[in-house]
Symmetry: none
Subunit: 242 residues, 2 copies
DNA sequence: GGATATACCGAGTGCTATTCAATTAGCCTT
DNA sequence: AAGGCTAATTGAATAGCACTCGGTATATCC
């Protein structure tokens, strides 16, 4: 009956299309209802396949969730890299600010999702997969930090793992506080101080100390000089106008 | 048939005893199997009551879990206070070290439990209860920090919420890293550097600045003065133009 | 000691993830 | 193009769980 002329899908392409459909549907349903609240039947319906079919792609609901989470973390990694690349200035602290902003925002928007990444660990033996994807994500920070050290913007004796723990840990905690405390209208507004404080902390704790006080004072002198010049220009302008 | 002479339990005491039995059994089973893995029937069996009886004490499995978590966090708060009180020296940094050590250890030992505190939030509307108990726990840190400021050990311009986020956030993240990376033999060993780095961070970032920096401030004063002058000129000009 | 209220029980209910025997669809050989 | 073969798909059946409810035991009151 069916004409083969309409370029029927190959076996492979069909599988890939269905897998994507399942993953997309699953993600939507998980986000909407959480893990326990999500019905496998609803995922199947949205992906337009039979309920049993899901189980020929994934062992269980938990493993399906894991696949969704992998996709999620991979996306974050890619986006985080993109955000960093899009910062005009290539200094460490500007990029750190951009990364912190991005990360905090993600944390607040996907809080439940991220919690599930860790909460799911107990049920399933396939932990390592999720762990690797998480590692890839934090590696974005690691690269930034090491580059900052190479460029001489950060102290050589700074401890990477501590910096990483502070960065991601504090942001996660802050994100949870913001998410728990405020209504959705205020969420965006309250993010700025968190990010700024984080950058300030990194600047003061991991930023290079200027070689000597001499340099410090010379920098102050430079600023003072610039201000004086500005003041002079101002006077000139002022005079000309009168 | 039953003799009343054997000092039968009063109605109230019996209820309390059963409630405790349920809570203890539930805690054990939840720790052992996680939330989803825990069978209500097993909790009932261990508490030596009928399965249905549990539901005359708690609305649902989730609410029972919540009660267990409350007990858990209350215990932590009490123990944390005790740990702080037991430190011989009453200086801020020694107490901070003790609190960090205690907290990190708890995090590693009860990782799943703590994850559940946050993961459970979605399912149940009775969130606020858990939130209050959590607040009480972090208040231990807040009191310590404020006292440190009062005693002049910490900078007056330090931001409490940021310090809190860094303290609990970093430790939580570190704890998870330790828990995920290492086998149980190494867990204890790797805690020390985390705690020490945390204390060092607080010392350098929030500790009072040595008087020697007077020079710095005088330079700042100079700059500020120049800016003020410039600002005045600006105002004057501005006024003249209008 | 009987009436009444309260606590307790566990067999049933309803809902869901998961399985599996039957069916369909793509692919390959001739 | 037909037929056979394999892999993919299906949804009705299964199994396991949280939770309910009618009935029973137990304490309290008069």
């Amino acid at each position: 009956m069916a004409t083969k002329a309409v370029n029927p899908e190959t076996r492979r392409s069909k599988l890939e299309r269905k897998e994507r459909a399942i993953l997309d549907a699953a993600r939507a349903v998980f986000v909407e209802h959480g893990f326990d609240g999500a019905r496998v039947s609803e995922i199947a319906r949205r992906a337009q396949i039979g309920e049993g079919t899901i189980y020929s792609y994934y062992e269980s609901k938990a493993e399906l969730m894991l696949a969704v989470l992998q996709q999620f973390w991979d996306g974050l990694t890619r986006e985080a890299e993109a955000v960093m690349a899009s910062v005009a200035a290539d200094g460490f602290f500007d990029r750190l600010r951009a990364l912190a902003q991005y990360h905090l925002n993600i944390l607040i928007l996907n809080a439940d999702f991220i919690n599930l990444s860790f909460a799911l660990r107990r049920n399933n033996s396939e932990v390592s997969v999720s762990r690797d994807h998480l590692r890839q994500y934090v590696a974005v920070f690691d690269r930034l930090f090491l580059r900052g050290q190479d460029r001489g913007e950060l102290r050589q004796d700074a401890v990477l793992w501590q910096a990483r723990d502070i960065f991601y840990g504090s942001l996660e905690y802050s994100g949870r506080s913001i998410e728990m405390t405020l209504d959705s209208d205020h969420k965006v507004r309250e993010q700025a101080p968190v990010v700024e404080q984080m950058v300030a902390l990194f600047r003061s704790h991991y930023g290079v100390i200027d070689k000597a006080d001499a340099k410090d004072s010379s920098m102050f002198d430079q600023l003072a000089q610039k201000l004086d010049q500005l003041s002079d220009k101002f006077d000139a302008l002022s005079e000309r106008l009168s």
